[in-house]
């Protein structure tokens, strides 16, 4: 996920990103940002936060835990805002989506 400095929600998105560094994939022990699971975070006019994200595999048994973690972390960071998680496998997650830090944590 790349946040443009020109983005009108730059500060909020940076805060959201920082919160999501605390959400760890329990199987891989790497946070969802460094894994590249978060595609987009949108702050809506109505106060809602829409997250477009993926999982490392469509059959991930920890999928619920990861999406819950993202929702919980953002609700804690932005009290009172409604967080919607939209899961997509288009495009499917792949190796190139890892950040350099994520690659390092996975020993790549």
């Amino acid at each position: 996920m790349i946040i443009s400095a020109a983005d009108q929600h730059f500060d909020q998105k940076t805060k959201a990103q920082a919160a999501l560094y605390q959400v760890i994939d329990p199987e891989l022990f790497v946070n969802v940002i460094d894994l590249g699971l978060i595609y987009e975070i949108e702050f809506k006019e109505n106060g809602a936060i829409d997250v477009l994200m993926t999982l490392s595999t469509p059959h991930c048994p920890m999928g619920d835990a990861i999406t819950n973690g993202v929702k919980n972390a953002l609700e804690a960071e932005f009290p009172g805002k409604n967080v919607n998680i939209n899961l997509t496998f288009n495009p499917p997650w792949n190796f190139a989506m890892l950040t350099p830090s994520g690659k390092e944590q996975l020993g790549v």
């Binding site: 605390q22 959400v23 760890i24 329990p26 199987e27 891989l28 022990f29 999982l55 490392s56 595999t57 469509p58 059959h59 991930c60 048994p61 920890m62 999928g63 619920d64 835990a65 990861i66 999406t67 819950n68 973690g69 993202v70 929702k71 919980n72 972390a73 953002l74 804690a76 919607n84 998680i85 939209n86 899961l87 997509t88 496998f89 190796f95 890892l98 996975l106 020993g107 790549v108």
Partner: protein, 421 residues
């Protein structure tokens, strides 16, 4: 929340009792080997070894597989478990069936107790097949992993029915064929039909998932499916109608090539993996596969050399080396996550929660791995040398493995939610 259906976790009552009972059965199994080492140096058709083999195949291997399958089949099939209640009920029938069967074999009491035990096992197998069929919905959409799951379940049902007939034949003889020949067919339907095909199907999905490696050579799995089933069917047909002959070497080769295609598929996923570090749980799988290959290699010895030690060695490689190795490792790739999900799924992101691997003693798994290899090695030496004290030492080593395993399983199952102040 999410617009795609992802996690399909069944209720814990359909999963956790199987893990707890399987761990206990593993301890009992190792204790039986320790208490009766002489049963491993005589002909395999003896009461104590029959009890040991059925405790291993049903109480240990199948019990854990049932628990893991109730959790993983919905993941593989992307559907809710067809009937969690039926899954839970199958624990009662499987546990009661194994207790009756193992007791009957150990004391060689043929008759209604043994037949009742066998009937309960058949009932458990039938419920398992219904659950797998209903969850997979294979009649709507078929893929190779589902095919392995459904076919292995069907072979398991076939195996248990053949076993029930064998148990009945011991009390009320009605077979026109040789009892021991039918026993060989029953055993191999279980080993190749149930264990090999289930492990092939499940591992083809899970190993790439655990390694973050994807193989594009799915055709290998199709060859594996065809060859494993062809070899088994030919063996059963020929064995039943014409007896066990040297043609079994051909059928062994066909099944072996089928197994090799599966292993080539896993190797390709391993080569493509993103996750470079190989965990101790995956190392268990590697050693277990070596035991499987040793098992295949032992078959010509069993047939051509004819010594009673080769048949026992063959069974040891498959049940204690291969099936046990996989279960010892995969338990800690599934159970901590199942329990973690129950405790922390809704807390993740809110507070700092422990990771699944912190639910058990990881250092102990390394010792468990080393003692497992040692136990296989000593068992092999003791069986080949027909040395009772050495087999007893092997039994003691297996007991140590069981104690380490059961300690970690109990630690996970008894975990209490940790909420930092």
């Amino acid at each position: 929340m999410a617009d795609l259906n992802i996690a399909k976790n069944p209720p814990n009552f359909a999963v956790l009792p199987f893990y707890a009972t399987g761990a206990l059965a593993f301890f009992v199994l190792c204790l039986l080997i320790f208490l009766s080492p002489d049963s491993l140096v005589v002909h395999y058709f003896n009461p104590h070894l029959l009890a040991i083999v059925h405790t291993a195949a049903l109480g240990w291997g199948t019990m854990i597989i049932f628990g893991a399958a109730h959790q993983m089949v919905p993941v593989i099939c992307e559907q809710d478990l067809f009937s969690p209640k039926m899954a839970a009920f199958s624990w009662y029938t499987l546990t009661a069936g194994i207790l009756l069967l193992a007791w009957s074999f150990w004391n060689m009491r043929t008759g209604w107790v043994m037949i009742s035990g066998g009937s309960l096992i058949v009932l458990s197998a039938a419920m398992y097949v219904i659950n797998v069929l209903g969850t997979s919905r294979i009649y709507k959409r078929c893929d190779i992993e589902k095919l392995f799951l459904v076919t292995s379940g069907t072979w398991f049902l076939f195996t248990t029915i053949a076993g029930l007939l064998l148990a009945t034949n011991l009390a009320f003889p009605f077979f026109e064929k040789n009892h021991l020949d039918i026993l060989k067919l029953h055993a191999h339907a279980g080993l190749v039909g149930w264990f090999l095909q289930l492990i092939t199907g499940v591992s083809s999905k899970l190993v790439p998932m655990f390694l973050l490696g994807k193989s594009s050579k799915e055709r290998f799995l199709k060859y594996a499916y065809l060859l494993q089933n062809l070899g088994l069917l030919l063996f059963l047909f020929d064995g039943y109608f014409f007896g066990i002959t040297s043609r079994i070497i051909i059928y062994t080769a066909i099944v072996f090539i089928g197994a090799l295609f599966w292993l080539l598929y896993l190797y390709d996923a391993y080569e493509q993996r993103i996750r470079k570090k190989i965990e101790i749980q995956m190392k268990h799988t590697f050693v277990s596969v070596i035991c499987l290959i040793f098992g295949f290699v032992a078959i010509p010895f069993v047939y051509f050399l004819g010594g009673r030690q080769w048949a026992v060695l063959y069974g040891m490689f498959l049940l204690m080396g291969w099936v046990t190795g996989i279960v010892l490792g995969k338990t800690f790739k599934t159970l901590p996550f199942i329990v973690w999900n129950a405790h922390y799924k809704n807390l993740s992101g809110k507070i700092k929660v422990p990771m699944p691997k912190q639910l058990y003693n990881e250092g102990l798994i390394k010792w468990q791995f080393m003692f497992y290899i040692l136990a296989v090695f000593i068992s092999s030496a003791g069986i080949i040398a027909q040395n009772v004290p050495l087999v007893r030492i092997a039994g003691g080593t297996w007991l140590l493995v069981a104690v380490m395993y059961i300690y970690n399983v109990i630690k996970i199952l008894m975990h209490k939610t940790i909420i930092p102040q």
